[in-house]
Symmetry: D2
């Protein structure tokens, strides 16, 4: 399993509060079946890299559908082959 952090920023939204654009994204993450944790600067997910990337695609579609005219998506994946990574195991710097 890999662990990844995903963060989406809609640009050009009138208000600097962007929660309404992120609610449908969270719904997509919940529906994915992947283990996840909401963090202050993004959502952390655990799963195979292929499934994480598929989830990013669905989140991108969801935020555009929610009305975002422009979106910046930031993703950082940590994966290793010598042992399993998990959300719990990776609470660290």
């Amino acid at each position: 399993m890999a662990v990844a952090e995903l963060c989406l920023f809609p640009l050009g939204t009138e208000s600097p509060s962007v929660g309404e654009y992120l609610k449908p994204v969270l719904k997509v993450i919940e529906d994915s079946g992947l283990k996840y944790q909401l963090c202050p600067m993004g959502t952390v997910v655990e799963g195979p890299v292929e499934e994480i990337l598929e989830l990013v695609k669905l989140c991108h579609e969801a935020i555009l559908k929610a009305g975002a005219k422009r979106v910046v998506i930031s993703l950082r994946i940590d994966d290793r082959t010598d042992k399993e990574l998990t959300i719990e195991g990776k609470v660290r710097i």
Copy 2:
């Protein structure tokens, strides 16, 4: 078209010089057919979000095949619906 920056860091490589792990990744990017530009802090690619994510998957496979035991992949995508983004158009802050 979206524009994205992709950066891969292999960890645990003995030497802090990691170019040997990145050459096969670059080969994958070249072979993708997507427009790209090598930058000092990563490689910038231009294309549909779906194809960019597919490319990330191939880069991940390539760096593990090159012997990386652990890899951190950083991806930032910029996409907008109101006009086309291009690598040339986005040389900015």
Copy 3:
């Protein structure tokens, strides 16, 4: 207050397990007096932007002192002027 996520990756460490390099960094964060939260993909801190940047400088020094020959530091700051951001308030996508 701004909220920021900080993540340090030492490269060229022989082992893909890098916790020994990160312990002194965590000590620096604890000693900073800034409010912080350990997350799976990095440490989130809350404070004025100037103090967060000063903390990044100290973390950089600490990881080099811990023996890292190369380090990648990833920082993402979220700051707004219309209302206060806090770690608790920002648990979201």
Copy 4:
């Protein structure tokens, strides 16, 4: 010398085109005296880590002064002690 990539996204700007907020940021970077290169997904600067962090502080001030109500700042620094990093030397994956 370290090499770093800096990217600022103003949120809540009504228009998804954010160039007007970034022009004063670019001016600050030019005035810093640090070597820099405009890239499609951010601006790359070369210099001591301490000076790069000082520059981030000035860019943050500049974008708020330009009217941004909220800003996300993304910074990635690459530093190594065994040899000098330069913008030219780092054009790679």
